[in-house]
């Protein structure tokens, strides 16, 4: 096979990437510059209206009025995604470290336990949280039974319950990359640190954490990106009272029938996530040098 025909070998891979990844992205970006069709879909003419909608509302007389409500939804979403990432990191690092310290056989069992939720449908898992958190749910029932409270605590339908749902859903995405980084650490590095006068705290701060950081960064990306666009947990555990981007996007393509705005929102989420991703990989590269 001549060198000018070798491209044939990668053509199938390029086709898959093109059809399933690049093309939908271009479609989304393209749709975001169109006008909404009241019956769904998009029509001509091309316009920036969808992006203007982030900050302005079109009044009856067609003048633009500043309206921060969508911007606030985006900010709230970013804030919740960041909070989710931080909590996952704080919980995930010790869990990953604990698993690494076990015997190979126990490691396998624990890793399986971490991935266990993947085997159950996310919708069902999220509904289970409702059963636990609602006023007559397991949590309140147990607390009442123990005599700690008399009236049920409002555990459901607030930012806290959304956060809980997000952390619960995405924690494995933090644990697994950190685990795979820590697993590769030569145990001699830690022994050498003990030999070099370091106590447990110093070993963690100066050795384990710096070496775990690439894994933590990978985990942070894997948690942040889907948490930002997530709509199941916010809808079910937040009760749909407070919108997040994910739910907002979903609404644009269903009840609101505003495809361009939905596409514009998707584009913005994609750009935010890609920016985070690029910054991250730059930093990892810098550290390698």
């Amino acid at each position: 096979m001549g060198p000018n025909r070798t491209w044939l070998l990668i053509a199938p891979a390029m086709l898959v990437i093109g059809v399933f990844m690049v093309l939908p992205l271009f479609l989304a970006v393209g749709y975001s510059f169109m006008t909404a069709n009241p019956y769904g879909g998009v029509t001509a003419p091309a316009t920036f209206d969808a992006y203007l909608q982030f900050l302005y509302q079109r009044d009856f007389d067609d003048s633009l009025v500043f309206s921060p409500s969508y911007a606030l939804i985006i900010l709230r979403s970013v804030y919740l995604a960041i909070a989710t990432t931080i909590i996952c990191l704080v919980l995930g690092l010790p869990v990953a470290w604990y698993i690494v310290c076990q015997t190979p056989e126990r490691r396998r069992i624990l890793l399986f336990a971490v991935t266990l939720p993947f085997w159950i449908n996310t919708l069902i898992r999220t509904y289970c949280w409702i059963l636990i958190l609602r006023d007559e749910g397991l949590a309140n029932g147990a607390l009442r039974h123990a005599g700690i409270i008399s009236d049920p605590l409002p555990l459901l339908y607030n930012d806290g319950s959304i956060l809980l749902g997000l952390v619960y859903t995405f924690l494995p995405f933090m644990v697994l990359p950190i685990y795979s980084t820590l697993e590769r650490i030569d145990p001699r590095l830690i022994e050498a640190a003990h030999d070099l006068y370091a106590g447990r705290a110093a070993v963690f701060r100066r050795i384990v954490w710096p070496l775990a950081r690439p894994g933590a960064l990978a985990g942070a990306t894997l948690v942040f990106a889907p948490a930002l666009g997530s709509f199941l947990a916010p809808d079910l555990l937040g009760g749909g009272k407070k919108l997040l981007i994910g739910s907002l996007i979903q609404m644009q393509f269903t009840s609101s029938r505003n495809w361009p705005f939905g596409a514009a929102l998707s584009t913005v989420v994609t750009v935010v996530v890609l920016t985070v991703f690029v910054i991250r990989s730059r930093r990892v590269e810098e550290e390698r040098r």
Binding site: R188, E191, H194, D195, L196, L211
Partner: protein, 363 residues
């Protein structure tokens, strides 16, 4: 005074006892090498001295202080690991400074100590590199430097050269020896390589199956091994062993091989072996004492078939069959026979060893 002392030190992992009641005294400034095949307990012994493993029994004293319950970081020892255990995220200088920083040694002194050690180890140009930018030999030197800047009471080396290629290993071996001649810190060095043990040690500790087989200066171990294990382990190529029977011939003794060949035992050894006459034993002779024909006192000539010839340049190794047993001879290259030929070789009986078949002890 013993600087490092092990008294009846043992170690078990679950039900498996890997180190059996080791007694060892190491004098201040002494370079002691623990040598043995993998799994002999040498690394475990070193790790117990370092404080990375706890002894199951016995006592370890460093500088007269019982350290069984003292943590690694408070033992005033410095260990050099086989894998070097350099921190990939730190530069050479940061790696070397790590221990001192944790000890909160003043900056000026850290800089000064690193500069001095870097100068000795020829690392000055590399201080700002990271470990992955260094060659194997350079990493090894950084690992040693990290131990040296701490000016510890005892250096512990865990197979520090086994990740290097043969040529570099020889070079670093000489450097380690030179360093010890300069700083003369008490050193315990673990290796499976008997050449390293022989060349570096003031005293060699040969270990096998969790026990000490023999302790002594390299030349003593080589010429007067206490057991078959030591005789076979020290020296390369290894000692030749033949099944034999010790028989009295008049007022002299003779080693009779399985094919009936009788080899006269030197008169000087008669008294030593007299009590064993008539017993089935093992006869040991090093390759350099099976040579081309030489006129020397106490040599016996035998005619043997040559199987393989290995020219080494300054000498030639012959693989021959002596009474049906494979043996190695070291001969002058000028006298090299061809494979398949019969060669007349001289056995230097003055250097013979007789071993008890059952206990493996040298008689």
């Amino acid at each position: 005074m013993a600087d490092l002392e092990l008294r009846k030190v043992s170690k078990s992992f679950q039900n498996l006892k890997v180190v059996h009641d080791i007694d060892l005294e190491i004098a201040e400034g002494e370079f002691v090498v623990l040598v043995g095949p993998s799994g002999c307990g040498k690394s475990t012994t070193l790790r117990m001295v370092a404080g990375l493993d706890r002894p199951s029994g016995g006592e370890i004293h460093i500088g007269g202080r019982l350290v069984n319950n003292v943590q690694a970081r408070d033992r005033d020892i410095a260990m050099v690991f086989q894998s070097y255990a350099l921190y990939p995220q730190m530069t050479v200088a940061q790696n070397m400074a790590f221990g001192l920083r944790i000890r909160k040694v003043p900056d000026a002194e850290v800089t000064q100590r690193i500069a001095r050690v870097a100068d000795i180890l020829d690392l000055s140009e590399l201080l700002h590199r990271k470990p992955h930018q260094l060659s194997g030999g350079q990493r090894q030197r950084v690992a040693m430097g990290r131990a040296m800047v701490r000016q510890p009471k005892v250096f512990l080396f865990d197979e520090p050269l086994s990740n290097l290629d043969a040529k570099l290993r020889g070079k670093m071996r000489a450097e380690i020896k030179k360093l010890h001649q300069m700083v003369a810190t008490t050193t315990v060095y673990v290796t499976h390589d008997q050449v390293e043990a022989m060349t570096l040690a003031d005293r060699v500790v040969v270990m096998n199956k969790g026990r000490i087989e023999q302790i002594g200066p390299p030349n003593d171990l080589y010429h007067e091994p206490a057991s078959r294990f030591v005789a076979g382990f020290i020296g390369s190529p290894g000692m030749n062993f033949f099944k034999c029977r010790l028989e009295a011939r008049g007022d002299r003794l003779a080693v009779v091989l399985s094919d009936g060949t009788a080899l006269a035992v030197p008169a000087a050894r008669t008294a030593r072996y007299a009590g064993h006459a008539g017993r089935d034993l093992e006869f040991g002779l090093r390759p350099e004492h099976i040579t081309e024909q030489r006129e020397r006192p106490d040599t016996v000539d035998i005619k043997v078939p040559v199987e393989v010839v290995e020219p080494m340049g300054m000498e030639t190794l012959l693989h021959v069959l002596v009474a049906g047993t494979e043996a190695t001879a070291r001969i002058d290259p000028a006298a090299t026979p061809r494979p398949g030929e019969m060669a007349t070789l001289s056995l230097g009986m003055a250097h013979m060893h007789l071993l008890d078949l059952k206990t493996g002890r040298v008689l």
